[in-house]
Amino acid sequence: MALTVFVIVFPAIVCGVFFLILWNRPYVFYPPAEFSGDVGVQAYVEAMHYRGAAQIPQFVDSRTVYQKLSTAAGSTDTTVSGPAVVSLRALLTVCGTTPDAFATAAQLLTQLQQVMAAAIIDDAKLKTLNDAITALKLN
């Protein structure tokens, strides 16, 4: 009985894991030689990464928050720039980046740009970014 269950269930698990990888990370099935030509591997990975159109508002929201923080952080009015820098630090921290204690607003904005760039090909990082924006009520 146990052997029968194993014989039926094991191939199903192996098949399930295969399709799970195929769906989420199809690029791992290709050897480096197949990513040839003038275009880099990362660009090919991006091209293979299927995404639904429903994500568009998330991208626009993330960028809008960046623009708002950038404008506010650059203000000469410290009652505007101060909270913006605090928000930038909080956002970066929630996204897993530890900002330097003495980092300037410009340096924090550069770090946020890097966090956003990493989210171009990583849905998990995009979700973390958007969750942080929502949690910190920045949008």
Binding site: V39, E46, G52, I56, F59, V60, S62
Partner: protein, 93 residues
């Protein structure tokens, strides 16, 4: 990412627009051209660096009236694996 990057030609117009919008918004880039890759059934999107935020990208069949600003008109790209003439717009923010 900047420069010329491939975008899957198997997706719908909305999927392609989604991929381009993601690059523009999160990568601080601006789409300047979109063409079919002559060597595959993917598309090639050209981006330049930009600090200006644009609205989402919209791809519609060529000749369709759309809100926003036209980026590329009457360009042939792969949509669901088939070469199709499309117009590409930046929707208003």
């Amino acid at each position: 990412m900047l420069g010329q990057i491939p975008v899957a030609g198997s997706g719908s117009m909305a999927d392609t627009a989604n991929a381009i919008t993601r690059n523009e918004q999160l990568g601080f880039a601006q789409l300047t051209d979109l063409i079919a890759d002559p060597n595959s059934t993917n598309n090639l999107a050209t981006f330049m660096i930009s600090t200006v935020q644009f609205g989402a990208v919209s791809i519609v069949p060529a000749g369709t009236i759309s809100p926003g600003t036209a980026i590329v008109t009457n360009t042939n790209i792969y949509v669901s694996g088939v070469k199709t003439a499309v117009d590409v717009y930046h929707l208003p923010l």
